[in-house]
Symmetry: C2
Subunit: 195 residues, 2 copies
């Protein structure tokens, strides 16, 4: 086996560990927490199905790639719950170290490509990264609403918190943001979210 | 909300159920069985990383889309273990019905696109579908080998069976098939597979 293929297949096995990283969101039947690998699959599917709602024209392949790789750093850094302010301290530094190690397992051309995609996702400046980030926020909203707000209720989340956290959806998609705001209003009425 | 967006978001929630479909393969630390959603994510990542090994030039986006959607029919039809001959009876018909119902939830333009991608994957005639099928076979081989052949041993799988099942890897990638054959030889030596 060539050294290049060896490196690539080692990486393929290493990233299998993303299947063990649990998020706070529940899967749609509420039976268990979602893991970051299946979450990434779900987002890539959403990118394919919902790209027409992006505010700006986007390159679908780049958006899908970004979503497939955006959580890989959690293999080392873990999933940080976005409403846990204490845990959010140092998140950026932890994830940067993780990116160095994990992407560094690949041959340098691919390691550079994946790192650039991850940096692009984090910086949220291009149309693709704005839309990818919008989907990354929309998906847990859909699942939280569908599971009667259980994850929100467990953590006592308020309307102000979800509005502030999710307003960046609008940067990627005004149409999806309009839908999400309507869902939040319903969620308050149904007592899934604190007013 | 427009009727179109409503249909699309209903589909997004419906396909969440793929996270509950368990395969025979174990995840890399052997702690549990893999589900079909995270398996699809893993394959899409492999398409991005390994496309240089395809025998023919391929459109990466079409290959990735095909891999993201290829198992959706299992939401209704379940995962059929490839070495279970009794379960394989009627699989095609079950999956065709599932495709009708599940893809039919989408607006017709998207339902048509996804159905065409699924048919293409199943027919294994285009370069993209040959390579996608090669990855769909390679991934469980890597995980089975990495977990000391536990899934193979549990079902008493032989070298002849894995060779016959996986020979289609060669149609998509001679380089990857060469690697897989070497792994099988090692797997017999290590008693992961029956000779």
């Amino acid at each position: 086996m060539s050294n290049r293929l060896e490196q690539q297949l080692h990486f393929v096995l290493e990233i299998d560990r993303l299947k063990q990283i649990l998020r706070q969101t529940l899967v749609s039947d509420g039976s268990r927490r979602e893991n970051s690998a299946e979450h990434s699959w779900h987002l890539a599917m959403m990118a394919i199905l919902l790209c027409e709602y992006s505010n700006q024209f986007i390159d679908t392949l780049r958006t899908v790639k970004m979503l497939l790789i955006h959580d890989l750093v959690e293999i080392d850094a873990g999933d940080t719950y976005c409403y846990d302010e204490a845990a959010m301290v140092g998140k950026e530094e932890r994830e940067r170290c993780a990116a160095e190690r994990i992407f560094g397992l690949l041959p340098s051309d691919q390691s550079g490509e994946i790192r650039a995609l991850w940096d692009e996702f984090e910086a949220r400046r291009t149309p693709e990264s704005k839309f990818a980030n919008a989907l990354d926020r929309l998906q847990p909203v859909l699942l939280n609403f569908h599971t009667q707000g259980r994850a929100w209720k467990e953590h006592g989340i308020t309307l102000a918190q979800v509005l502030s956290r999710n307003t960046i959806i609008e940067e990627g998609s005004e149409a999806l943001w309009k839908h999400v705001r309507a869902l939040f209003e319903q969620a308050v009425e149904l007592k899934y979210l604190k007013p």
